[in-house]
């Protein structure tokens, strides 16, 4: 029965997968791999391979510093969104409002800056404040009123868009140039050729990782994402901690808005949806489970770099932005699907 000669093609393939699976299992048991995380190592390889591929496909044009800086510009603001949504997804929730809320932050604060003449420092505070307000709003509805996060964030996405349009009278807002008065905010991402933004982003990511892994906030967020009822019955105020995850998200979205304008200066009301998908893709690709309870900040960081590089690469290859939309869509599905498969296998 088990003689190899009589195996059907299907059985052969199945055997091959089984052997491959066992080999991967072995690699996963390696202490170094275990410590860093198998998933993250694979992602790093993907990142490097992708970069190499783009360099080859563009006949070396992609290798220049300019492209990298441009990709980084994209990675900063997207990174903040992605870090933020990681906290929400860790609770088992979702936030589809991050992109438009980021735009709302940038528009409201930018309009205050250009039309009402508030100083740059205050504008930044306003942006963060608007982000926090949306986070609080989403979090309160989800945690205390038990409105599904999917619905809440869909609704607040529209609220953010509408609010920004009303506030700016449907005008796009241009933040000051680097040389103009208050232009110092642009050095948040770059001074000369030094990518300051990268250091700030990584520093914030480290703080996020510490919060998620070393503090009570992170412990409770991850635990309630895994089994909310068990945590509640342990006498933990789960509603509070669930809301806090959305507030953290809002805060990071508010910061992300500043990095968006520091890179591109101009914001238009009514947009921002596509960044939802990209930020969620970065996060889920990094190993954060849509089912909640499992999250990785370092994974999110690498995931975001992959998305940003992809977007830059697609443009460099001469494709339109539409292809970017298709590809991120596929990535989200693939990442979530692999998470589903992984969980099914565990059960």
């Amino acid at each position: 029965m088990s003689s190899g000669r009589f195996l059907t093609q299907g059985q052969k393939t199945r055997n091959l997968i089984e052997v491959g699976g066992r080999r991967v299992e072995k690699i996963k048991q390696n202490p170094f791999v275990k410590k860093v995380g198998f998933n993250r190592i694979v992602l790093c390889f993907v990142l490097i391979l992708m970069y190499g591929l783009f360099c080859v496909l563009t006949q070396g044009k992609f290798a220049g510093m300019q492209r990298i800086l441009s990709a980084l510009n994209y990675a900063y603001f997207l990174g903040f969104l992605s870090l933020g949504v990681t906290f929400v997804i860790a609770t088992g929730g979702i936030d589809f409002s991050i992109g438009p809320v980021m735009f709302c932050c940038a528009l409201v604060s930018g309009y205050s800056l250009t039309a009402h003449g508030v100083p740059m420092g205050a504008a930044i505070v306003i942006s963060i404040f608007v982000g926090l307000a949306f986070g609080l709003f989403n979090g309160y509805l989800v945690a205390y009123w038990s409105v599904p996060s999917f619905i809440t964030s869909m609704a607040s996405m529209n609220i953010a868009k509408g609010l920004a349009s009303v506030f700016t009278k449907t005008q796009s807002v241009s933040w000051p140039q680097a040389t103009a008065e208050g232009g110092w905010y642009r050095s948040l991402i770059k001074v000369g050729d030094i990518p300051v933004g990268l250091f700030i982003f990584l520093a914030v990511a480290i703080v996020c990782a510490i919060i998620l892994n070393k503090t009570k906030i992170g412990r409770y967020i991850l635990s309630l994402g895994s089994n909310k009822e068990a945590v509640r019955l342990s006498g933990v105020d789960v509603k509070k901690w669930e809301m806090i995850s959305y507030i953290i998200c809002g805060l990071l979205v508010g910061i992300g808005a500043i990095f968006y304008v520091a890179a591109y200066t101009t914001v238009q009301p009514g947009y921002g949806d596509q960044y939802n998908n990209e930020a969620i893709a970065g996060c889920v690709m990094g190993g954060t489970s849509m089912a909640g309870g499992l999250a990785s900040i370092s994974g999110t960081v690498i995931g975001v770099f992959i998305i940003a590089l992809l977007q830059e690469g697609i443009l460099a290859l001469g494709f339109t932005k539409d292809y970017q939309l298709i590809i991120t869509g596929v990535i989200v599905i693939a990442a979530v699907f692999s998470d589903v498969v992984a969980r099914r296998r565990k059960n």
Binding site: K216, S226, S234
Partner: protein, 498 residues
Amino acid sequence: MGEVILTMKDIDKSFPGVHALDHVDLEVRKGEVLALMGENGAGKSTLMKVLTGIYKKDSGTITYEGKEVEFSNTREAQDAGIVIVHQELNMLSHLTVAQNIFIGREFKKGIRIDDKKMNEEAKKLFDRMNIDIDPREMMGRLTVGKQQMCEIAKAISHDAKVIIFDEPSAALTETEIQELFKIIRDLKEKGIGIVYISHRMDEIKVITDRVTVMRDGSYVGTLITKDSTKDDIINMMVGRVIYEDPKTESTVPKDAPVVLKVEHLNAGKMVQDVSFELHKGEILGFSGLMGAGRTETARALFGADPMDSGDIYVNGKKVTIKSPQDAVKCGIGYLSEDRKRYGIVVQKSVAENTTMATLEQYMKGIFIDKKKEKEVAEKYVESLATKTPDVDQLVVNLSGGNQQKVVIAKWLTRDCDILIFDEPTRGIDVGAKNEIYKLMNSLAAEGKAIIMISSEMTEILRMSDRIVVMCEGKKTGELDISEATQENIMNMATREIE
């Protein structure tokens, strides 16, 4: 004794790191009930999953009706006549009984589903089984016991020749178990081979013909039920005799202070005007049938569900409990009947679960002091004899009994004076059960007050100092252990129904 219908020989199955089945044999004959026993993790379920094609065996042979077979999924096994009645019910509560029974193979009239014919067929099935269920009733409206009957009806409707019952009685009341036994005897007479998986020794004695025992993934042996004693079987399962006699007298002094007093507690339909007192150092047993409102009482008392009215006094002081947080502040801990859903966070480690209720004690500034957390967890792993490679192990990888110990540790770190154990040994094997009992006794001896909800009469009689009996949401009696017997408890537990 009938002829052999199913033989599993030398079945071997390994998972990464675990040798789940080590050359196991099993033989089922026509018209007999074979008990499959073993502690949790002994490999009973794995063996059944290999049989029905959920897992692929590594080696060994399965012979069914004289032919060697290998099913690649449950559907194939079903079509061949081997059916499992699962412990967890796989029913759709918003469909009718008949729709559930014939799901996936509905009778059709053109493109329409022929509900009338399905109802008729279901009725015929129930008549054959001699039970009274309306096929048109919504599944969700039936009691758990009736739902189980439907599951069995579904199995029979497949024209099964071998039926596997996986702990069928776990959720049934005494009367329902009797009904189930009647059905099983009936099936037996029709020449169907039955495999009966259960932890309950009394049932095994009553209903089965032979007992096959497994331990740690290997086959230990097979006994003829009527020629063997309880102790014989248990010895084969664990290698030692452990059953103890019931408690006859309470050791709690009559004047022990009242630590918890509940007066006129009301919460929905399931908790009506419940009052009781709990003394220091006492184990107060809550007995009753499934659905008597015991768990609901505990949950309302703990603030897990809202209470409508009633007064709660802790150490003589009136307290308001609106949430589990309030209850925990009052020194009450609750160990749920459903560990997986309400007790543990499976994706978290033993250490993280242990400190879940007391995290603020292990903070160093804003950071969690993981070293201290680990030390505490290790302390409890040692004192409760929890079997785990280390405290970083994810709880999902522990057996039921050890998971329960982690939950107990969680409440011990909190230093709760009042502990509510809701079905503390459900789904736990005999050996670990005994350890949990010992633990509860020593906790009581230390002066903690314990409420123990249990559906197992032997457990109630063995552990309790006093017994509260409930029926349909009302307290129907209270007994001192010295006056309690199975009979008078059962009387009280069915008082409202009769």
